[in-house]
């Protein structure tokens, strides 16, 4: 993968709003932004209602993903352009799902909703009507998804990249600073993890930094190019953003997203936790 195959610019998007076979999809946790105006022709996916299992603590399985995309009118051969708020966190999470379920052509809109807004590009409140399709996902590609036992095994052995803010990494905060801080689990990070906040990879307007800048950031942070990598955050969406950078923009092999992330790890009994600003020892 590379920037050209994984990313489209806002200019490209605006020119291709009506191109047949291109489907724009806004993905967010809070979809009121979509309801108030969205990229013309875009459909919406609600990260919680549409992409999480309503009962089990997991995301939608292969069959649920098939039902969802069929119902929304997305075909296997469509080019899917994902975008959203929060600097594309949830769009990046959805991108990771589309890859996990083997969708052929999926891209992120560089800068997401923010860049679109700051550029003063047009919105629409019209709800697009798309005919139902019969979408067939592939079996989940677990080479891009990490589970907890593998994460514990990775301590001191693989690159662990904690993409939360420095205060969350150190254990001084338990959630991003726009959320109330009460939580049940322990604070801190997985020992030996390096801390490269997701935000390092993005410009102020939400677009991704250049490949050269990105390679420098992870290199200076101590990412070992010879090792496999697992990225995590609190619930797995900010780490999808970093997974996208490492795997899809920089083309690094063997990068997994640990979607259980700190809400799972910080609640496990008996696993090691490091406190403070340093990675800590295995």
């Amino acid at each position: 993968m590379s920037r050209d195959s994984a990313l489209v610019s806002a200019d490209w998007a605006e020119k291709n709003l009506e191109t047949p076979g291109v489907v724009f999809v806004e993905v967010d946790e809070d979809t009121t932004a979509y309801d108030g105006g969205h990229i013309p022709g875009a459909i919406k996916l609600d990260w919680k209602k549409d992409l999480q299992d309503p009962v089990r603590r997991d995301f939608v399985n292969q069959e649920q993903f098939a039902q969802l995309l069929s119902e929304r009118g997305i075909s296997n051969d469509d080019t899917v352009i994902l975008y959203g708020g929060n600097n594309n966190w949830f769009a990046a999470y959805a991108y990771w799902y589309f890859k996990l379920y083997g969708h052929g052509d999926v891209k992120l809109l560089d800068g997401g909703r923010k860049k679109w807004e700051l550029d003063a590009r047009p919105y629409s409140k019209d709800l697009p009507q798309r005919a139902r399709t019969s979408y067939t996902p592939q079996a989940p590609d677990l080479s891009i998804r990490a589970f907890r036992d593998e994460v514990v095994q990775a301590i001191g052995a693989k690159n662990l990249v904690d993409v939360r803010s420095p205060d969350e990494f150190a254990g001084r905060l338990l959630a991003p600073a726009h959320l109330p801080q009460e939580q049940s689990q322990r604070g801190g990070h997985i020992p030996t993890a390096i801390n490269v906040p997701w935000s390092k990879a993005a410009n102020e307007d939400g677009t991704f930094k250049s490949d050269e800048e990105l390679a420098k950031i992870y290199g200076e942070a101590g990412l070992d190019q010879s090792k496999d990598t697992i990225a995590y955050c609190r619930i797995g969406e900010r780490s999808s953003h970093t997974w996208f950078v490492l795997k899809e923009l920089l083309g690094k092999e063997n990068v997994k997203n640990y979607d259980g992330s700190w809400t799972e790890y910080g609640s496990l009994i008996g696993v090691p936790i490091a406190l403070g600003d340093e990675p800590g020892k295995a």
Binding site: W89, E117, D167, A175, A177, H178, L179, P197
Partner: protein, 108 residues
């Protein structure tokens, strides 16, 4: 889950909603205000980011239609950085525990 606002996700909550009942102002450091143009018009749909004392990104919210924004931070030195269609703006503050109300303006 009985806690009303432990937000299962990470997206910024509705900025115009009143402070959730579960928020303990003895413990929380809330930074809040209204984003306005230099002529005093509220700026809805603007982006306000919270930067820590080293200038590092900490969080970002979208202002409500009334221009409201709110962060849950910690006592100390912070910078607010606003981006909007109407222009950009910055403000530094020394936050203390409880509610810190600030005025933030954008200019083209």
């Amino acid at each position: 889950m009985t806690a009303p606002n432990t937000a299962a996700g990470c997206a910024a909550p509705d900025q115009s909603a009143p402070l959730p009942a579960g928020v303990d102002l003895e413990k929380e450091t809330v930074i809040t205000g209204v984003l306005r143009t230099t002529t005093g018009e509220p700026v809805g749909g603007g982006y306000v980011r919270l930067l820590d004392s080293s200038g590092e990104f900490t969080a970002e919210v979208v202002t409500s239609p009334e221009g409201l924004f709110r962060f849950f931070a910690a006592p100390g030195q912070w910078t607010l950085r606003a981006l909007s269609r109407q222009g950009n703006g910055d403000l530094s503050l020394d936050a203390t525990r409880g509610v810190n109300e600030v005025g933030l303006n954008v200019a083209a």
